[in-house]
């Protein structure tokens, strides 16, 4: 299945664009998708521990199962509010 990845803020700037698509086997998780992205963009790998994963308006855990057509958001730690 194809999973659309959307990148925000620092991540978007590190990668150089704000969306990319990765192909993954059915049953893959959000964490699997992140690993696929870091294989393509190793500069993101050191940021894994603090990365936020989201689908629609929900943060999801790395073990969340992806479904065809999902857009997975990769977000750095949030820093709004002041």
């Amino acid at each position: 299945m194809d999973i659309q990845i959307r990148l925000f803020a620092r991540y978007r700037e590190l990668v150089g664009h704000d969306t990319l698509t990765v192909s993954l086997p059915e049953g893959s998780t959000a964490g699997d998708a992140f690993s696929k992205v870091t294989a393509l963009h190793p500069e993101l790998a050191p940021l894994q521990a603090s990365t936020l994963l989201a689908i629609d308006s929900d943060f999801v855990k790395p073990l969340a199962i992806l479904h065809d057509g999902d857009e997975l958001k990769l977000m750095p730690p949030v820093s709004g509010g002041a």
Partner: protein, 158 residues
């Protein structure tokens, strides 16, 4: 609960929480400072996932309503380029009793800073830097593997 790119008006959130039984209104405005960790800040820029940010602000308002049933709350956050002294976020809470209004407003900004997908980039004379942010609460509250039986509010109230 809105993300907007223009200047924020404190009067707007205060008016939004006005109510005949409200005895106290507490507001918080987050203002762009001229320094950060000893560096002179010359400008600032916020980026958001607007739709998710607004949804998360609505959830925070829902949590405030669950904890303080008499509270009314309004939140606005700005994106784009801001000058020193401009407000990036404004929150107003009204309650019949003032102690609750203080607690609810502080809860709202503390939670917003940890959960709402907004990022801040500071400009110094020497260049721009994305600020380090918060990830622990967002990771804790992330919904679990099957994404079943975990609606947004369950996840946020856990």
């Amino acid at each position: 609960m809105r993300i907007q790119s223009g200047p924020l008006e404190l009067a707007e959130v205060v008016a939004a929480v006005a109510h005949p039984s409200a005895g106290g209104v507490v507001t918080f405005s987050g203002v762009v400072r001229d320094h950060h960790e000893g560096k002179q800040v010359v400008g600032i820029r916020y980026e958001a996932d607007d739709a998710m940010a607004e949804a998360t602000m609505r959830r925070i308002a829902g949590e405030v309503g669950a904890r303080w049933p008499e509270a009314r709350i309004a939140l606005l956050h700005r994106t784009g380029k801001l000058e020193i002294g401009e407000a990036s976020v404004v929150i107003a809470v009204s309650c019949p009793h003032r102690a609750q209004a203080f607690d609810a407003c502080e809860y709202a900004i503390d939670t917003l800073k940890q959960l709402v997908p907004i990022w801040k980039k500071e400009a110094y004379d020497t260049g721009e830097v994305w600020l380090d942010g918060e990830h622990r609460l967002a990771q804790q509250r992330a919904v679990d593997p099957a994404r079943q039986g975990n609606g947004p509010s369950d996840a946020l109230n856990s």
